[in-house]
Amino acid sequence: MNKALARIRDFKIGTTLVLLLLVAIWSIPTIGLLITAFRDRTAADTSGWWEAIASPMTQEWTLDAFAKVLSVDDMFGSFVNTLVVTIPATVLPLLIASFAAYAFTFLEFKGREIYFATIVALMVIPLQAALVPVVRGLRFIKETTGLSLMGNFAGAWLVHSAFALPLAIYILRNYMMTLPVALIEAARIDGASWYQIFWRLVMPMSVPAVASFAIFQFLWVWNDYLIAFIFVDSKPVMTYRLLRLLGQYGDGWQNVAAGSFISLLVPIIVFFALQRYFVRGLTAGSVK
């Protein structure tokens, strides 16, 4: 009898109920969006989405909104553009930051500490603080050399990479500091070059930190509006398209909802698939 009571107490019904309530409140806004995306225009205009759950049978479920935003609003093209912006804007800063972190951790050079402290300070700088001069600089380059880095992907890659660098270098260097130096010294004695040690030893061992930053940066770039809006205006990304849709919800909420649904799909899959690494990286990066 006592055992049963103890088990009931350990189950924590009260706490569970509070958490259930919290999770419900947290999820309701997103559920509303998902349901609206599958409704037709008149239904979305004339009744709340919760009424659709109340009577799912009498409700007309349709994929019209998806068909419309994918073709007419070219969400498909934007999906491709977003991928083309995001993948290099994730890989490049990782590559650049890994080499920098490697130098900061394992190579000796003058002023190492001060340069690193500067990078820590730069982490805080808001993106907006550098935008105007960067845009003008790229325009100047175009006028003088004809090399265009505006209105195409390269400009966005460059800017995203630069702004990701301080945090990326910081996280990777902190992780590399925990790697055994003896191992690297042994490799040196065996005649491995610094370049080989980087690719064969340090990078494979740094996978947890690399993975967590990669996820972080991927989500960040995928969800970014400002940089994409400024630097790849001729190839609109999804946040840009979505904002336009949001401005014309005279055509019905279902379109915005479907567009939003499509743009959410990849980050949510990435998030749930790699959540473990993401959380591990977050906790390793900032908790000391």
Binding site: T15, T16, V18, L19, W26, S27, P29, T30, G32, L33, T36, A44, T46, S47, G48, G77, V80, N81, V84, L92, I96, A97, F99, A103, F104, L107, F109, A117, I119, V120, I125, P126, Q128, A130, L131, V132, P133, V134, R136, G137, W157, A162, F163, L165, P166, Y195, L219, N223, L226, L242, L246, W253, V256, S260, L264, F271, L282, T283, S286, V287
Partner: protein, 327 residues
């Protein structure tokens, strides 16, 4: 369509291959040098691309922004302090600053508090429930500000009188006998700004929960047991034993959210377009630069923002140095 996909694929491959090539080339270059120089220059060869980007895309532009803030709208003529005088004599700018102040005063504290609350609860239930609940609270982290705006746009939606309610908030208000409100238009007590803040708290609670939950798990069991033996209740246990030990994490979450909130922009753009007294510095910058094409004034606004961020920068560097000393 196919063309776009192909072009994208080629761009990705070329971009990444070129960057890899840069490092390979730099390494080859250093290898050709005499041994003594190699030792000196290798670190710089590996740092060169990062340093170039940081200097050209971050550091120099940051200084140029301050220079531009003393120039006219086209960024070609000196105007002295005119932009700053304009800003600080304009009552709407104070309204903007007030909003930034409110965002900083409420969002970080509430995000930390709600994260702490959820973390404390999820740490008490079994591992499966903990995982499920945490995932669902954390999920909004992966949603963009623009998507969040569409999601919450439904919630706050207002329809002309007589039409059926499609916004959840107004529908609830009606059930309880109240009158539906045009939420985003109500600037009394900055209600609309507070409604925007709720969205950010919703997005970021997961982040704060994850970090704080990990910190709570790191609290040594002995300290808790010892306090229990001494007769401390749950409440005392939390305030006197657990909280002091996770304070470092709580502060680091707090500072991270403050930094994020200071440059808040997308959510205001997508929800209200800065109308009805909801504008913040980040949005004001966007407006001056992209809509009014005023380089000088836009730069002055970001200069103000950057100066406000300097204390946070100092906190970051000081914390970092303290951690390094502990290594």
């Amino acid at each position: 369509m196919i063309q776009d996909v192909l072009f994208g694929l080629v761009s990705i491959v070329v971009g990444i291959a070129a960057s890899y090539g840069v490092y390979w080339g730099l390494d080859q270059l250093v290898n050709r040098l005499p041994e003594r120089l190699q030792k000196k220059l290798r670190a710089w060869a590996y740092l060169l691309p990062a340093a170039t980007l940081l200097v050209l895309v971050l550091f120099v532009p940051l200084i140029m922004t301050f220079v531009y803030s003393f120039m006219n709208s086209s960024g070609k003529k000196w105007v002295g302090f005119e932009n700053y005088v304009d800003l600080f004599t304009d009552p709407t700018f104070f309204s903007v600053l007030l909003n930034n102040f409110l965002w900083i005063a409420f969002v970080p504290a509430l995000t930390v508090a709600s994260g702490l609350f959820v973390a404390t609860l999820t740490n008490q239930v079994g591992p499966i429930r903990e995982k499920v609940f945490k995932s669902l609270i954390f999920m909004p982290m992966s949603i963009s500000f623009v998507s969040a705006a569409t999601i919450w746009g439904f919630l706050y939606a207002n329809v002309p009188p007589g039409r059926p309610e499609i916004g959840l908030l107004n529908a609830l208000i009606k059930v309880f006998g109240g009158d539906p409100q045009p939420w985003m238009l109500i600037s009394d007590f900055r209600l609309n700004s507070f409604l925007l803040m709720i969205i950010i708290i919703w997005l970021q609670t997961g982040f704060s929960m994850v970090l704080i939950s990990a910190a709570i798990k790191g609290v040594p069991e002995e300290t808790i047991e010892a306090a229990r033996v001494d007769g401390a209740g749950n409440f005392q246990l939390f305030w006197k034993i657990v909280l002091p030990q996770i304070w470092g994490t709580v502060m680091s979450v707090f500072v991270t959210v403050v930094i994020g909130v200071m440059k808040i922009f997308d959510i205001v753009l997508a929800m209200t377009g800065g109308t009805f007294d909801t504008s913040v510095l980040g949005f004001q910058f966007y407006q001056e630069y992209f809509l009014n094409a005023n380089v000088g004034k836009a730069s002055a606004i970001v200069a103000v923002l950057t100066v406000l961020i300097v204390p946070l920068m100092i906190i970051q560097v000081v914390t970092f140095r303290r951690q390094e000393a502990l290594r």
